[in-house]
């Protein structure tokens, strides 16, 4: 099982690296969002608005990045994976891979956003922890949703429709906890929030693990 997950993750990285078009597309999409938002803010930074817009940018790029997981792959790949590996190791490897991808994307977005519209963050390590947990949260909820949208024969817009209701609560918790780090408040306040977030990630990860085999059988 563990070797299977490792091999599948390696496969993900290799396909991504070989097919740079998709990765570059997501990076460009995020860059455009960051630039557009910063331009509209025109340097009049209110920390609350800065924070909310940061998470909304990240959410949209997460929906776009994770949507490719099952939607983008040609049918041949699907049958190939179906014959060589079990559903549970496939979903775990995809969640792990997208967590890494989203943590990376979160870091890049944060750097770009700070470059264009200033950096009001006062407790940077804790803010980065929120970004990392946020990336994992997006990955663990959206990977299964992407599988659902792909099985429904849908497109990226169905993925967004299904994903948003599930993401709203996560986004609400993320904005609230990152606001504590942004204002540089006492760290004891943020630990319970981060614990709650980790619980949410564990929950959606477990649910994906349990439910995905039902989706994958054809």
């Amino acid at each position: 099982m563990f070797t299977e997950i490792r091999v599948l993750m390696k496969l993900e990285f290799q396909t991504e690296w070989k097919n740079k078009y998709a990765l570059n597309g997501i990076l460009f999409y995020t860059f455009c969002m960051v630039f557009l938002v910063s331009l509209s803010l025109s340097r009049q930074v209110n920390p609350a608005i800065w924070n909310a817009l940061f998470w909304i940018i990240l959410m949209f790029s997460a929906v776009n990045a994770v949507a490719r997981s099952f939607l983008g792959s040609p049918p041949g790949i699907r049958f190939y994976l179906f014959t060589i590996c079990s559903a549970s190791s496939l979903i775990i490897s995809r969640i792990l891979y997208h967590s890494l991808l989203m943590i990376l994307m979160g870091g890049i977005t944060l750097v770009g956003y700070c470059f264009f519209s200033g950096n009001p963050v006062q407790d940077l390590p804790m803010y980065l922890a929120c970004v990392a947990l946020g990336g994992m949260g997006f990955a663990s909820t959206l990977t299964l949703i992407s599988g659902i949208a792909a099985s429904a024969g849908g497109n990226a817009s169905l993925m967004a429709l299904l994903g948003f209701p599930v993401l709203i609560p996560l986004l609400n918790v993320l904005i609230r906890s990152s606001r504590i780090a942004l204002d540089g408040l006492d760290r004891t306040l943020i630990y319970s929030e981060l614990g709650f977030l980790s619980g949410l990630i564990l929950l959606s990860g477990t649910l994906s693990y349990l439910l995905f085999p039902y989706l994958w059988r054809e």
């Binding site: 909820t141 659902i148 024969g153 169905l158 948003f164 609560p169 949410l200 929950l203 959606s204 039902y214």
Partner: protein
């Protein structure tokens, strides 16, 4: 089959008797004055809160039926799951509208009606209910996107379980963490269930029972009409 008939007779009678009682007693009896703006509007407790209980009951039924579908593959379970969530949405909308009207006359009496703040407060429970309702709207969008019945049932069951189970901890925890107008929060609400006076309780509990029975009844009718319009599902 006899026990099912008895059960159905039970909830139909329960719905008629209890709701009639709750309507007459809840609107006509003299109740202790809760003070301030709550004086007479507190009667809404008999109609607003049972809507939520019924919504949770129906959505619970929907999730359980979805789990059963994944276990057994019986399409009847899928019909019940979608019928329960559809009926649940109606109760949710009723709860939302009674809540909006209640908060408008209780907390926002002084705000003119043309100001949107008079109608919508960012109360955490309100927010979460909108999220929960949007999950079920997405659920029906997903269903309408798939043609083949077996695939439709399987995929929508997975989404139903995933969405409901990831929302459950939030509906239970977040309002308590964030406070707001509802009981259990920090600001608190004068109508805390624990402190609910005995005069209220003798009407409130039958009202809850009555609306739960009504929910089951509507659910049954919904399932039967779906079965009739699609006879292949009959077992």
């Amino acid at each position: 089959m006899l026990s099912l008939k008895v059960f159905r007779l039970g909830y139909r009678t329960g719905a008629i008797v209890c709701i009639t009682y709750a309507l007459i007693a809840g609107l006509c009896l003299t109740l202790p004055n809760m003070g301030g703006n709550m004086a007479q509007t507190s009667r809404n407790v008999f109609y607003h809160i049972p809507m939520w209980f019924t919504m949770y009951l129906l959505m619970g039924i929907s999730v359980i039926q979805s789990i059963l579908y994944l276990k057994t593959g019986n399409l009847n379970n899928d019909v019940r799951a979608s019928a329960a969530s559809q009926t649940g949405i109606y109760f949710g909308l009723m709860g939302l509208s009674t809540g909006i009207i209640w908060s408008r006359v209780t907390w926002r009496e002084l705000i003119p009606s043309n100001d949107f703040a008079a109608w919508w407060s960012w109360d955490p429970k309100l927010t979460l209910v909108v999220v929960a309702l949007s999950v079920y709207i997405a659920y029906f969008l997903l269903r309408s996107n798939i043609e083949e019945p077996g695939q439709k049932a399987r995929i929508s069951a997975v989404y139903n379980i995933f969405a409901a189970a990831s929302l459950l901890p939030l509906t239970l925890l977040l309002p308590r963490l964030l406070g707001g107008l509802h009981p259990g929060g920090e600001e608190g609400n004068p109508l805390d269930n624990v402190k609910l006076a005995a005069e209220f309780r003798v009407i409130f509990y039958p009202a809850v029972l009555g609306f739960l029975c009504l929910g089951l009844w509507l659910f049954e009718l919904n399932v039967r009409s779906r079965m009739l319009s699609n006879p292949t599902h009959e077992s």
